[in-house]
Structure formats: structure tokens, C-alpha cells
Subunit: 144 residues, 2 copies
């Protein structure tokens, strides 16, 4: 019979490989963050909240390290930064092209798969430029 241990082991090894693929060393802190970020479907999270979650699970890690790693993951293409709020940064574990609902009252992001919302009739671009990305944010409030 296969020991349980192996299944957990495999997950961690996947995460380590993911981290290695970004040319980063799989440190204790990075593995913990990767576990929080990539273990359970798409997430949209702020540095502060991630720090809280880590501490809550008994992972010792400083906020500075959270920031450093969120940016390193983003640069490596493992995360995408979403600008929706002037006062804080959100990081999205879904790096495929897609758009967002933003629940303004709760400060919460939700994916809109890109084939469910399309942008049409994009006008001619200004001379000498090309598109880096297109961000669509559908801002939501509670229905009155």
C-alpha cells in the first residue's frame, strides 16, 4: 500500500518544481507561500492578507519577504498583478487572459473568463505603440 506521506510529498515536489522553473530557490518561505497560493484554485489576494494567512498557519515569514516573493513570482509569470484599488495591490494566481468583477464594498475580485466577455472595436493605436494588455474591470455594488 502507498503511504499517505507520498501524496503530500508529491504536491510539495510540484510546488518546488514550479519555484525552480522560475529560477528561484525553493526555500521554506517560498514553498509555504506557493502552497497557500496555488493549492486551491484561482485566488486574488493582497500581500497583507497572505501574510495573515501564513501566520495563521504557523508559518514564520516577514511581510517584506511576502512582498519580495509576490513580485518575484509576478516577474516569473506565476502571478499577475491586478490594479483595481488605488490603495492596495492584488495578485491573481490566474495568469491566463481574463477580466474581473470587483466587489467594491467587499474589496473582492472575481474572474470573468475572457471568452465570456470580449472587447470589440478597439480603435487604431497611437503611432509607435503596441498593446501590452487589456484590463476590463466591472465594478459592482450591492443591488439596492
Amino acid at each position: 500500500m502507498t503511504p499517505q506521506v507520498n501524496e503530500n510529498r508529491t504536491d510539495v515536489i510540484d510546488l518546488e518544481n514550479k519555484i525552480r522553473s522560475a529560477n528561484l530557490r525553493p526555500t521554506r518561505q517560498r514553498i509555504s507561500l506557493a502552497k497557500l497560493l496555488f493549492s486551491e484554485g484561482n485566488r486574488h489576494i493582497t500581500a497583507e492578507k497572505l501574510h495573515g494567512e501564513a501566520l495563521g498557519k504557523g508559518v514564520k515569514i516577514s511581510l517584506a519577504t511576502i512582498y519580495n516573493n509576490l513580485h518575484q513570482f509576478t516577474t516569473a509569470g506565476l502571478l499577475r498583478e491586478v490594479v483595481v484599488d488605488a490603495s492596495k495591490s492584488y495578485f491573481d494566481t490566474n495568469v491566463e487572459p481574463h477580466h474581473h468583477f470587483f466587489h467594491e464594498d467587499r474589496g473582492l475580485l472575481e474572474d470573468i473568463s475572457s471568452h465570456r466577455l470580449t472587447v470589440d472595436d478597439i480603435p487604431n493605436l497611437p503611432e509607435g505603440t503596441e498593446i501590452s494588455s487589456i484590463d476590463v474591470i466591472v465594478r459592482l455594488t450591492k443591488r439596492k
Copy 2:
């Protein structure tokens, strides 16, 4: 012949009325800001830049007052805040529905008239919510 003075005078009176319509007193500082913001077509500007322009024209005004007034104008519907950059706020003098090009390298915003770009196939909204606004940002970089 109509003296030149009257034409300038009229402009200032329009601005004063605009300020009054927002239930704000037309102070020296507000009139100066309104002149900078609303005299020459649509603008997209940060608090810092507006402060610089004011000082450059010899208008004595503090940065705190700039921020206060940008927010008061925004609340009154004279301006719209555009979130494109995590680190600073842009204010847009065009309050009609429309979208934006954002020149990432220059930190510059440009309007896309809304009939030149449309968003289609918006999926069903989450239960109990309604759309507050839809922001489309086409991020541009220099063409290589």
C-alpha cells in the same frame, strides 16, 4: 468694441458657477484649480503634477488643498478618478462614459471615446449586485 477684459471675466464667472454648482465656495485656490483643469479640453492629471502647474503659474496653494479639492470635485461629479497605477491617482476631467489608453512607459492617460470601443457579452452578474461602472484600460508600450 467689447473690451478684452470681459471675455476673461466671463470665463472666471463660468468657473465660479461650476464651483458653486458643487456647493463649494469659489475661493482663490478653487478658481485657480478649476482654470487649470477645465479651461483647455480633457485632462488626466495627478495631484502632484497639478500642484506643480499651479506653483509654476505663481498660484500659492498647498498640496493638501489640492488633494482635498480633487476629492471634493470628484464627489461633486466634476472629475472622475481613474485607477491605472498602484502608486498614484489620476483624475480625469472627462466625466462621460469612456475608456482609456495608458502609456505605461510615460505614465500618460488618453481617452478612448466610448463609441469607439465596446464591451460585449458581459456575463450574468453575481446575485444581489449591480454594475457601478466598467473600466477598460488598454495598456500600451513602445512598439519594438
